[in-house]
Every structure is written in structure tokens, then in C-alpha cells.
């Protein structure tokens, strides 16, 4: 059972790290602001979400697990808002306003 949990956690955290890696590569390599933003938000929600899912079975108490989920939700919410704000600025500068 313990081995199974460890395997699940490793797989989920590993998948999360891949999303962070891909997001970082996208941030460096993509040509303009909007596509770079697209790459970053994937790292935020999928990458962090997978890492949190991987950490859930390892957390010491239900309270700790809930805190992890709340952290993910807050990052998700802040990330989505900031992405919208940056995208608006990027589009208005593109149009030369």
C-alpha cells in the first residue's frame, strides 16, 4: 500500500514538474507576449495542480491536505486574473494604443 502511494505521488509530482519545465521552455522560446502567457498559465494550473495531487497522500493530516488545496486554488485564481490583465496590456500595446 505504502509503495503504491509512493508510486502515485512520484508519478503525479513528476508529471507536474514536466508541465513546469514545458512552461519555462515556452516562456523563453515563444515569440510574443500572448503565447508566452499561454505557456506560463499551464505551469501554474496543471503543473502546480499535479504537484498538489501528488503531495495530498503524503500530508500528515486532513487540515494540511486542505491547506494544500486552498493554496492551489488561490494560485489558480491569482494566475488567471494576472494573465487576463497582462494579456489586455499586451493587446493594447500591439494595437499601438
Amino acid at each position: 500500500m505504502t509503495a503504491l502511494v509512493a508510486l502515485f505521488s512520484t508519478a503525479a509530482i513528476g508529471a507536474g514538474i514536466i508541465f513546469f519545465l514545458a512552461g519555462t521552455v515556452g516562456l523563453i522560446r515563444f515569440p510574443d507576449g500572448l503565447t508566452r502567457l499561454h505557456a506560463l498559465t499551464k505551469a501554474d494550473n496543471l503543473g502546480l495542480g499535479l504537484i498538489v495531487i501528488g503531495l495530498l497522500p503524503l500530508s500528515s493530516s486532513v487540515g494540511m491536505a486542505l491547506k494544500l488545496v486552498v493554496i492551489w486554488a488561490l494560485v489558480q485564481f491569482a494566475g488567471a486574473t494576472v494573465a487576463q490583465l497582462i494579456a489586455r496590456v499586451a493587446r493594447s500595446t500591439e494595437r499601438g494604443e
Binding site: F77, A80, T81, Q84
Partner: protein
């Protein structure tokens, strides 16, 4: 082995980002570098298991200071930064290197045995009614330092207010982001602010027994206030209002009053009568939290630029 590799990586990143921040010629880029540097330092403190310091660094070092610097750099007119003559640059470099070398010597060549009061603090912590030794040091053993820190924050706000143009004195800072009335920011504010207030109060409350405390919690509360102002959900207050000024001064005043009462009641300035230690510390923490949150929010808002009585 893996831990050591992680520590070395964090150390290398801290130094790398610090060098980049100093080297870059662009204000905005340097501030972004400074914020990233603060977050990396947070990781370093967390690796040292100094979670109280890590929380403070993340909230104040990276967060509030970064926002204040950004707002300051927007206000500053772009100036052509002429490079200083080579002699001055070498002198500055030598002075910085000397300070770094002195600090490195202190850290690398410690006295043996290193002077420490940690055991004393542990033994007597129970008499303060607190469970977190950091809170014990801040509120009881080194209360004078904490008191002066809160006064310094207030003095910094006086410094910012002294930059007010004559016509705007007694007015309020303009904070709303242009076009904030549309788009996601007001929605974000409405949903996040209640959650953020609960988390801020929780961090203050839990600080008595676990990592957290008034500075960290107050920073979160201040951030929620700043968000409300930026999203246009509320206006920054006029700095002439006496209720605002009372709120700003409440923390230091309560701290000072209880400190002075300690002279007749407990025999020393800032000493607490043992039976009342916990409630008094709690009272000071609540007053300080409100004052620090208000002060930090107004520090970010900057000097007033709206003339009193004239609405834009």
C-alpha cells in the same frame, strides 16, 4: 546529498540574481530581479527551517517592498543614468567588498562556543504564555527592538507624506488602476479579499504558537486593502482624517503605554506582570497589526495627489 545539491543550487541562484539585479540598466527589470531575489531568499530561509523569517521575507522583502519600488519607479521621471567616473566606481566596489568580507568573516569564523541564549529562551518561554520562541523573543525578551521597528515603519510613512505637493496636503492618494472598472480586477478583489482577510487574521493569531505573526499577517491585510484600492472598490482615505491618524499611531501608542505601565507593575520598561503577560501581548499584537496594515497600505499608496474637495 540531494539536500546539499538543492542548497548549492539555491545559493548559486541567489548570487546570480543579485549580480543580474545590480548589473541591469533598466529600473523595471532591476525591480523584477529584486522581487525574484526576495523569493529565492525565502526558499533559503525555509531550507534553514527559519519559517518565521521566510514568511517575513516573502511578504515584506519580496512583496511590499517590490510594489513600493515599482510605484516609485513609475513616479520618477526617466533620467539618463550617466555612468559614474571609474574612480568612484572602484571606490564603491571596494567598500562593498569590504563589508561582504567582514560579514563573511563573522559567519565563517564564529566564536566557539557560539554565544547563544536559545536555551534560556526555551526554559523561560512558558512564563510569557507563548508557544513560539520567535514570538517570545519579539514580544518579551527583545520587545524594545519590536517597538522601535513599528515606529520606523510609521516614520517611513511620514517620509512618503512629506513628498506631498502643497495643494494636495490633506487629500488622498489616487490608487485605482486606469480602466479598473472593467475586466477581471474588481471580480478578483470581491472574491479574494474576504479569503485574504481570514488568512491574514489566521497568520497573526497562529503566530503565538507557530510560524506567523503580526508583521506577516498585517502585510496580507494590507495587500487586501491595496487590492481593493487598485480595483477601484474603495478609495484611499484622505490623510488629514484624525481617525486614520489614530489608527496609524494606535499600535506604537498601546505598546508604549503598556511598556511604561511595566515600570511600576513589573519593575522595568516593557516588562509584563507575569499573570497578565499573554493578554497584554495579545492586546499589543492586535493594535500593532491594525497599525502596520494601515501604514503599509498607505506606504504603497504613496503621497496624496488629489486636492482635498476636488474630485477627478
Amino acid at each position: 546529498m540531494l539536500g546539499l545539491a538543492l542548497d548549492l543550487l539555491i545559493a548559486a541562484l541567489v548570487i546570480g540574481v543579485a549580480l543580474w539585479t545590480v548589473r541591469t540598466r533598466d529600473d523595471f527589470a532591476a525591480i523584477v530581479g529584486f522581487v525574484a531575489y526576495g523569493l529565492l531568499l525565502t526558499l533559503a530561509w525555509a531550507r534553514l527551517a527559519a519559517y518565521d523569517v521566510a514568511l517575513t521575507e516573502a511578504a515584506i522583502g519580496g512583496g511590499v517592498t517590490g510594489v513600493i519600488l515599482l510605484r516609485a519607479s513609475i513616479r520618477l521621471k526617466p533620467v539618463a543614468t550617466a555612468r559614474k567616473p571609474i574612480g568612484a566606481r572602484i571606490l564603491v566596489g571596494l567598500l562593498c567588498a569590504a563589508i561582504s568580507a567582514a560579514l563573511a568573516a563573522v559567519v565563517l569564523l564564529p566564536m566557539t562556543p557560539a554565544p547563544s541564549l536559545a536555551i534560556e529562551v526555551r526554559t523561560h518561554l512558558a512564563s510569557t504564555g507563548l508557544g513560539n520562541p520567535i514570538a517570545g523573543v519579539l514580544m518579551a525578551y527583545r520587545a524594545l527592538d519590536t517597538f522601535l521597528e513599528t515606529v520606523v515603519v510609521l516614520l517611513a510613512l511620514f517620509g512618503v507624506w512629506s513628498l506631498t505637493p502643497d495643494a494636495a496636503w490633506g487629500g488622498r492618494p489616487a490608487m485605482a488602476v486606469p480602466a479598473a472598472a472593467f475586466g477581471p480586477l474588481p471580480l478578483f478583489g470581491r472574491l479574494l479579499i474576504p479569503v485574504g482577510i481570514v488568512i491574514g487574521v489566521y497568520i497573526v493569531w497562529v503566530g503565538a504558537d507557530a510560524p506567523g505573526g503580526k508583521f506577516q499577517g498585517a502585510t496580507i491585510l494590507a495587500a487586501m486593502w491595496i487590492l481593493a484600492m487598485m480595483a477601484g472598490l474603495t478609495q484611499a482615505p484622505s490623510i488629514g482624517r484624525w481617525r486614520l491618524r489614530l489608527l496609524l499611531a494606535a499600535g506604537p501608542i498601546v505598546f508604549l503605554a503598556i511598556g511604561l505601565a511595566g515600570i511600576p507593575l513589573a519593575g522595568a520598561f516593557l516588562a509584563y506582570p507575569e499573570a497578565l503577560a499573554k493578554p497584554l501581548i495579545l492586546l499589543i499584537e492586535v493594535a500593532l497589526t491594525l497599525s502596520i496594515a494601515a501604514t503599509l497600505g498607505l506606504l504603497v499608496a504613496g503621497p496624496p495627489d488629489v486636492t482635498p474637495g476636488v474630485e477627478p
